[in-house]
Symmetry: D2
Subunit: 348 residues, 4 copies
Amino acid sequence: MTVRAAVAGASGYAGGELLRVLAGHPEVEVGALTGNSNAGQRFGALQPHLVPFADRVLEETSAEVLRGHDVVFLALPHGQSAAVAEQLGTATEGPLVIDCGADFRLADAADWERYYGTPHAGTWPYGLPELPGARAALRGSKRVAVPGCFPTAVSLALVPAFAGALADPEAPDAVIVAATGTSGAGKALKPHLLGSEVMGSMSPYGVGGVHRHTPEMIQNLSAAAGRRVSVSFTPTLAPMARGILATCSAKAAPGTTAEQLRAVYEKAYQDEPFVTVLPEGQWPATASVVGSNSVHLQVTHDTDAGRLLVVAAVDNLTKGTAGGAVQSMNLALGLDEGLGLSTIGVAP
Amino acid sequence: MTVRAAVAGASGYAGGELLRVLAGHPEVEVGALTGNSNAGQRFGALQPHLVPFADRVLEETSAEVLRGHDVVFLALPHGQSAAVAEQLGTATEGPLVIDCGADFRLADAADWERYYGTPHAGTWPYGLPELPGARAALRGSKRVAVPGCFPTAVSLALVPAFAGALADPEAPDAVIVAATGTSGAGKALKPHLLGSEVMGSMSPYGVGGVHRHTPEMIQNLSAAAGRRVSVSFTPTLAPMARGILATCSAKAAPGTTAEQLRAVYEKAYQDEPFVTVLPEGQWPATASVVGSNSVHLQVTHDTDAGRLLVVAAVDNLTKGTAGGAVQSMNLALGLDEGLGLSTIGVAP
Amino acid sequence: MTVRAAVAGASGYAGGELLRVLAGHPEVEVGALTGNSNAGQRFGALQPHLVPFADRVLEETSAEVLRGHDVVFLALPHGQSAAVAEQLGTATEGPLVIDCGADFRLADAADWERYYGTPHAGTWPYGLPELPGARAALRGSKRVAVPGCFPTAVSLALVPAFAGALADPEAPDAVIVAATGTSGAGKALKPHLLGSEVMGSMSPYGVGGVHRHTPEMIQNLSAAAGRRVSVSFTPTLAPMARGILATCSAKAAPGTTAEQLRAVYEKAYQDEPFVTVLPEGQWPATASVVGSNSVHLQVTHDTDAGRLLVVAAVDNLTKGTAGGAVQSMNLALGLDEGLGLSTIGVAP
Amino acid sequence: MTVRAAVAGASGYAGGELLRVLAGHPEVEVGALTGNSNAGQRFGALQPHLVPFADRVLEETSAEVLRGHDVVFLALPHGQSAAVAEQLGTATEGPLVIDCGADFRLADAADWERYYGTPHAGTWPYGLPELPGARAALRGSKRVAVPGCFPTAVSLALVPAFAGALADPEAPDAVIVAATGTSGAGKALKPHLLGSEVMGSMSPYGVGGVHRHTPEMIQNLSAAAGRRVSVSFTPTLAPMARGILATCSAKAAPGTTAEQLRAVYEKAYQDEPFVTVLPEGQWPATASVVGSNSVHLQVTHDTDAGRLLVVAAVDNLTKGTAGGAVQSMNLALGLDEGLGLSTIGVAP
């Protein structure tokens, strides 16, 4: 089976990572590469690391160009996916459409409108196969909403604790501080993203519950907990290009022990090819997962503070975006879930 | 008035920063530079950035060498300061002794023994003048315990909230995730501190309440709150040489408003030359305080999560160690508190 | 004597560094801060590290605003200094004008026109006091042309070799590869300057003799050699915010020995407060000079290749721009040349 | 065909990269992983990014352990390969032995002894297939000497110019300044390799012709030129984990034009899958080749200076070591040369 895949938004960081992953996928042939502001340019000038595509020319994003592929990946600015998807077919015919944007992630229309300010476009099967129930919904689906990079890390870090009632079920809270590499902010030309500003510096942004990934985390953690989980989420910008380190904590349920905690996490992920619960005492480092579809996790219980601590490392562009998207594509197409994906990071 | 100052442990990062600050102090003349493993070496080979001291030779750390100075700074491994201090005189005669190590920071002997594993040496006036009562205790003192770098950032970030009862007084908690530059770990030759390992990577360490700065934070925050504050503290290692970004939160007291919060912080620090509460909407970046004695703070209230958020940026080596030490020296000697200290960071 | 200084272009990296240096100068009071695109903004939003100026408001650059100061520093885009300078007075009356731009560096009008494409504005005394004859020309001058950052490093590295005829006087050549921190490129919003692009990457630019600092190097080296020196200059962009490492070589004159070479350099710089010829075997690192006005040099002779090697490290913003400018200001005003300038780098 | 491969020195950076590449090779099964100081440890504690090997245990390096594989990769300290290779068989029977160390790279025994200080062990087919004649010698060979990382970049950059007599054939010289990521220095615990020292800093080392890769470059360039080429080589340490940017120049032969130069390079590499001569005006960046087996090249002619400029970017660990080793393995075993190797860098 050879699958022809198009990438809309191919000149951005997410689009580039999709191409890097797809180029190594044994069943995929890359078709159209599209973009808007850069349409007409030689692709090698835009993404010089993608040697096999260097001589391609970026086309204008349009339904005409994207149609006729088996899979269409959308790596567009938030709010643009719905219109394109509609023109590509329906949930029963036409190509598999995989949206790397936020448009179809949130089930609650009010949440969407509050955080994104536009009408809610709907909800698609959620591309985080490791969540309870997600894998089944992805199999055979014609639509996939790829999770945000932070919610990927945070959900994998905290869902077992909430699902297993190890986190206090009475007043479930989560306090999350997550450092991200600058590629998470995209290629936008903003002063605070200049190399001179980010090198040697850490800074927070979207503090106080205003980051758009917050409702997505609440949605996933609340589903696991069976009641609304309160989430305090602070992202910080770190002097590195890739990677997320999510430091997550939640009040422990009375009586929770460290052994229980460890056992629950090991059980939760024992059959997951892309999630590694590290041996006791070894903590994740983002460098270990760069360029891979791996998630590294470690857990502990701070009995003095009465909080469970879970730290997750992912590559925001790979497992956090493009790798997760291809993992979901594999499921949707009935291929082996891990095809074309590596668990090995590019370290050091 | 010219003050002759010695630095014990001059070949390390804290010692080097002390010399950098002291070299710019108009009332200080630098006397002996001592160390142990590197004694006898030309100083310029050890700390090439300290040009004015390049031709000095590092002496062996001993009471003989240190005696005869007006001020002795100790930048020694934890547990070594007490023995040296004892030989230098008493709290009424002999030089002013300023310990950049942990030995005299904790009031509670049990805390000390639990975290450091040796007998408690005592408690000295605490070198964080911005804390309530601290300035008075430092004036004229012959002994100063310089705070840890993380407790400096975290205490300045959270003390006003706890002192002002804006953080929930019923069950006061603090959840802190603080990213630090690698100089915080010193010059020890450990594999995880190699450039190849730290560049492009974020990783946590001392997770789960085991970091030695935890009891110091609890001590400071509890003093402010008037009851024991629970602290969950997770340090992370960031790919930068200097700087701490402390992201701190605490459950808000019922009825706390964002305006109140802001007003309390602005009032708390309005006369503090080294603490800047940034204008609303502007968040701290560690690069802005590198090489300076400044602390940059910002606060907000996440009403959905019911938590106060305070972010502080400091340079772990300057305000977090050497700058704070010199600020305390100025107070102890009756000099202008800000002499020789800059509020300006070396950015970009 | 208190000198009132204005900075035009205060929101850029050179302007910010001028303010950082001037704030520590005991005889300077900072007057107007001007800019164009950002005029009217609170200065703290533009340069948050410059705490003492945070509440100032950036004014529009104009002769009205700048006039009435004793010194005016121009940190403007190339080609804009001449017009402003003209309105500020003459070389005998009006303020001292110090141009950090390129406009008045080149003596040869043809060189200027070839590299900058506009009519030549003239030549001012060259603000590199360590060059033969430069100090005398700067004393009492009302005009200073601050050298380019690369020519500062390269001229100090190679002038003694050419002046002393240690570099082959028959066919004097210089091959220079100089790595620079990204602040050298300014705050312009260009894709290749984004943090995601520069972190973890080295790349060359302006290759093949086209960089605008090339004729300035040729001018300085040729003056030293007494005949035209051929210069091959390649700048590279390094993943750091500040610093230049200039690796310079030239064919050795027949019979030149390593001892001679060392002796010539030590003699050339023995009385220079800001130039350090490192002890044999110790090579410069840019981190050692960050934030300082120091130049670190080392020399050797590769007898197999028949080339002299000289490596220089400077901070492009300090000695390479703002520190050099203030050093020249001190000379022009008859102050102690080193006033307000530090030889100590902010390391690590 | 499934090939069983052992890696000796698996806990180092070169060894880890070999495993990363081999894990993606469709015809390779990884056998023994050996080391010395770390033997007996769980591999996941040493190389956490290599998830598929995490539960392996590092064995002691010995002929017993290595024997019985089809291919043995040696990533040992210089001088240790000969003894191991001897015990593994001969050039006609026993496993294919691929030495990532220097032991068998130099043809000239005097060169070896001068630079390495031990007796010369011999010369093996040189694992840089893109050099004239190299590919033929590698096909079917039982022994491969993997080139040094700098000579890989520099030889590919300059051989066409010397082979094509575009570089001055009368007095062939090459001046090379090459920046390398810190992984090139290995995992040795040396103070100057600490993250605090390398971040934000550039520094040279091995200046003046003393770096051990110098004779290897001279060997390769002289073979191309048909006479001894003089080489001035200066390596610099850059604040990044991976990558080499080699800036190379040579005096141009009289009459050489830029068009000729470009044509010669395009022709030289038109059929090479791993060497890309970038389109005119686009210069290499190391980030574009990180983790890949690609070499990016660009050339120009500085007619003022009379020098050809060639810049090459490679990943020191991939094409510069492990990728080049696997490429040579493929040739030696009669497999498709590019099997298991990617041309795509992990960017940004």
